[in-house]
């Protein structure tokens, strides 16, 4: 083994002083064995670096099989579509949720002014709507009570449009489908409830075309 073999890795790492660097480079021009060694050390270094790189990556890859997110997303879309089709027709069968109207009516100013801006606001804030359901309650209309028992107001205070591709893997949701999040704000200004509603506008439009 020649005298320079102990300096080859330091030379690769640019850790040698200028004089020694020049000497090693002169030697490498003449010594094919050391050139092979340098190649082997380079490969060992890059393999080690690649191994380290993979030490972080497999956590995500090993976590779940690749088919799980796709099947989950398809299942979620199926359930959402089923809810979308069934819920408006059978309101009495749905679990009763407490109506948020009283809280909203108690603080119309909060609903109108004190809210933080949503990330993506589709509809602007409907201030007058927050107090409207109270009138329905006062009238004691059976229909209104039934509707209020299972659902949020028809026109939510804030709507946030969420593109389906941000929640599901590409291709898992039919093209043109998106979701609208209805956010109900409590009297103290915090978000009280959030409901996702699938929108099939694009889907329906496509089926009407020849």
């Amino acid at each position: 083994m020649c005298d320079f073999s102990g300096k080859l890795i330091a030379w690769l790492d640019h850790e040698l002083p200028a004089e020694e660097t020049a000497a090693v480079e002169r030697h490498l021009e003449a010594c094919s064995v050391c050139r092979c060694r340098v190649d082997a050390y380079k490969r060992a270094s890059s393999e080690f670096d690649a191994y380290c790189e993979e030490a972080i990556a497999p956590n995500a890859r090993r976590g779940m099989p690749r088919w799980v997110p796709v099947v989950s997303a398809a299942g979620a879309v199926g359930v959402l579509m089923l809810l979308f089709l069934i819920l408006p027709r059978t309101p009495g069968k749905s679990p009763a949720l407490h109506a948020p109207e009283a809280a909203a009516a108690a603080s119309p100013a909060v609903v109108g002014k004190g809210l933080p801006a949503p990330v993506r606001s589709v509809h602007r804030v409907h201030r007058q709507h927050a107090v409207a359901p109270v009138q329905n309650q006062n009238e004691n209309s059976a229909l209104a009570q039934n509707q209020n028992a299972y659902s949020l107001p028809d026109e939510p205070v804030i709507q946030i449009a969420i593109p389906a591709e941000e929640m599901f893997p590409p291709g898992a949701v039919p093209e043109g489908m998106h979701f609208v999040a209805d956010v109900t704000i409590a009297a103290d200004g915090s978000a009280e409830r959030l409901r996702l509603r699938p929108r099939l506008a694009g889907f329906e439009r496509r089926t009407t075309q020849p």
Partner: protein, 179 residues
């Protein structure tokens, strides 16, 4: 300059500079630090915690006008010590990183190539586990882009020792893997 204005102005400018610098360093060094800590044997969550703590300490250090010389080495040293404290606290063996097999086979590879790649990685994994703790730490810090002097500062050893250790470790890997 009036005597009243100076004490207020100086800390504010320091805080602002420190925050800006810490943010830039965070973008640049977060991933290498995480990789180093995970390879050292910490779980992903623990590594994230340690990195966060290290940057918090860095922010305080810069805000209080601490030395800005070799911040990268300083940050790795803080993270290294935090990791060591954490592992001592839970009575774990600091010298057994990379125990898990890494399945780094590309999904696009053909079956034959996938088998070869897997074998190669398993062989490398075995060779890495045969290195001493010091050799592994030196190689990990070197893979993170630290110079020998900085590695020496992080591990508290002389630069010449780092050079010898790296030389020995790379030669062992090259020999074991026949690369």
């Amino acid at each position: 300059m009036s005597g009243d204005a100076a004490p207020l102005a100086l800390p504010l400018s320091r805080v602002s500079t420190g925050a800006c610098e810490a943010t830039t360093l965070y973008r640049e060094l977060r991933k290498p630090l995480l990789r180093y800590l995970v390879c050292l044997g910490l779980s992903s969550d623990e590594a994230q915690d340690v990195v966060q703590d290290a940057f918090l300490i860095l922010h305080r250090h810069l805000s209080s006008g601490g030395s800005q010389e070799n911040i990268r080495g300083w940050l790795f040293r803080v993270a290294h010590n935090q990791a060591r404290n954490r592992q001592n606290r839970y009575d774990r063996n600091f010298g057994s990183p990379m125990d898990t097999e890494i399945d780094a086979v590309s999904h696009e590879a053909t079956p034959e190539r996938a088998v070869l790649e897997k074998e190669k990685f398993q062989q490398l994994g075995k060779a890495i586990r045969l290195l001493t703790a010091s050799e592994r730490e030196c190689l990990l810090l070197r893979a993170a882009g630290l110079r020998y002097r900085e590695i020496g500062e992080v591990l508290g050893i002389a630069t010449s020792t780092v050079s010898d250790t790296v030389d020995r470790a790379i030669k062992k890997l090259a020999e074991k893997c026949h690369v």
